[in-house]
Amino acid sequence: MNPAIVISASDNVATALESLEPGAVVQAGDVTLTVVDRIPRGHKVALAHIARGDRVVKYGSPIGTASADIAPGAHVHTHNVASTRGRGDLA
């Protein structure tokens, strides 16, 4: 089993199928990357540098906007991705 799966070719994140530890080298789709954070099972890891304000893409569609710069191999979750939908707090 691949430890991380890339769903769509245009995605910039992969989903970890098992927990990944920092320093682990994983093959995710066409990308070989070194994990820099602990990635819990089922969570996402960045495939490339994602700049603050860039779209985070999974399933080939945007799932939100990076709220901080994200390094390749970093954990991608609520701490660095903001939703763009249903944001009454910003209205």
Binding site: T15, P62, S83, D89
Partner: protein, 402 residues
């Protein structure tokens, strides 16, 4: 028919048929319940006791409404209860009234009779209290159950099915395995002439562009975009971030970061090539073959209640974290793509498709197993939720109680 007989008879049928109950209105039931409907919360306990006397044929619809409601909420309560009285999974109806409430018992009974089902009304105030109303109800229920016991299942076409697709307790496995497996079943069913209904408008937010692109008409696409915008505006009017309820805390622990991500995984349930034919209101009749989107909230029980009200006879319900929800009259199959949940909540799970992730089971093979399980369920095999007595029912409401 025993469970073993059902499975062996159903297994001998071609893949597009099942053993059901054809109804005079042209629809087909997959169950044959005596439905015991309280008009109002005040008669719910009596209704539940009457239904329990003929378990598992008896199905009560305990609910919190039926009085103290104005305008749209009152109409929705009435229409939802009437939809269950007319539902093809119901063979006979007992309406249990209090006597002073807003919901009109006779109207519910008339809906059943209009579809040639036996129906009776019992009013607690008229009968003279709980004991007499319950006794009378039990006597009527036993008579109705005996009448239905003679009905035999007949070979029916899968094209007569309206399948509700639903997810709850989602995690990362939902978008990878269980929702795509349900989606392939949806595609196969629609190819065979059947219908699929998807609810949970909040969980389409972020994926509406994909469904709108598959709309059969510009009217259907416009209706979908309009209903998603309305729900988003309602959430935003509260001045809060929807994250925390969409996705839920459990979804977030399970790896889902935003509502967009949850929605993109969730809409896989509706298939990859089904065309969006129609968008309908809560519990409103589903009249088109192909894909219909129903305006329901994401909350599992309210959502399933609405889609079954619309005419769905069976529910395919995916879960990553595990959830027990059933329905009083429709079998709800639980499908998980999470191998741990398949073990830790084995009681609640009907179909395990985690092999798609952990053993490279082809998605088509998993979908084939699921389609077979759905057909066997429609032919009478009880689901985990039915065996465990899960009969959750809740009618959506928008306004205060007065």
């Amino acid at each position: 028919m025993t469970e073993r007989e059902v499975v062996s008879r159903a297994a001998g049928l071609p893949g597009r048929t099942f053993l059901g109950y054809p109804r005079p209105d042209g629809r087909v039931g997959v169950r044959n319940h005596v439905l015991v409907v309280p008009t109002v919360i005040c008669s719910a306990v009596v209704a539940e006791r009457i239904a329990a006397s003929i378990a598992p044929v008896g199905a009560a619809l305990p609910h919190l409404a039926g009085c103290g409601q104005l305008g749209p909420d009152m109409t929705l309560t009435h229409d939802t209860l009437a939809a269950y009285c007319g539902h093809p999974n119901v063979g006979a109806v007992i309406v249990v009234a209090l006597g002073c409430e807003q919901v009109v018992a006779q109207r519910l009974a008339d809906e059943a009779r209009r579809r040639e089902k036996p129906a009776a009304v019992i009013a607690i105030q008229t009968e003279g209290g709980t004991v007499r109303a319950t006794e009378k109800g039990i006597a009527v229920a036993k008579e109705m159950a005996a009448g239905l016991a003679g009905a035999t299942r007949q070979v029916c076409d899968a094209a007569s099915l309206i399948v509700s697709v639903k997810c709850g307790g989602s995690d990362y496995t939902s978008g990878l395995a269980s929702n795509p497996a349900v989606g392939r079943v949806a595609d196969r069913l629609v190819d065979a002439g059947g219908a699929v209904v998807l609810g949970e408008i909040a969980e389409i937010m972020g994926a509406e562009h994909l469904l709108a692109a598959r709309a059969a008409s510009s009217a259907a696409a416009t209706s979908l975009l309009r209903v998603v915008s309305r729900v988003e505006a309602e959430a935003m009017a509260l001045g809060l971030d929807i994250r925390g309820t969409q996705p839920s805390p459990g979804n977030i622990r399970g790896g889902l970061t935003t509502i967009e991500e949850k929605s993109l995984g969730a809409t896989h349930k509706a298939g990859e090539r089904t065309r969006l034919e129609d968008v309908v209101g809560y519990a409103a009749p589903i009249t088109k073959r192909g894909l219909t989107v129903m305006d329901t909230p994401g909350l599992d029980v309210e959502s399933v209640t609405g889609m079954v009200g619309g005419g769905a006879q069976v529910v395919l319900f995916t879960t990553g974290l595990g959830t027990p929800t059933g329905n009083p009259i429709a079998p709800v199959l639980k499908i998980t793509g999470n191998s741990r949940t398949a073990e830790t909540m084995a009681d609640n799970i009907d179909v395990d498709v985690s092999g798609v992730i952990v053993n490279r089971e082809p998605l088509d093979a998993a979908a084939g197993r699921l389609f077979d399980a759905m057909v066997e369920t429609c032919s009478g095999r009880p689901t985990a939720a039915e065996r465990l007595g899960h009969r959750e029912f809740a009618i959506y409401r928008r306004n205060p109680t007065f």
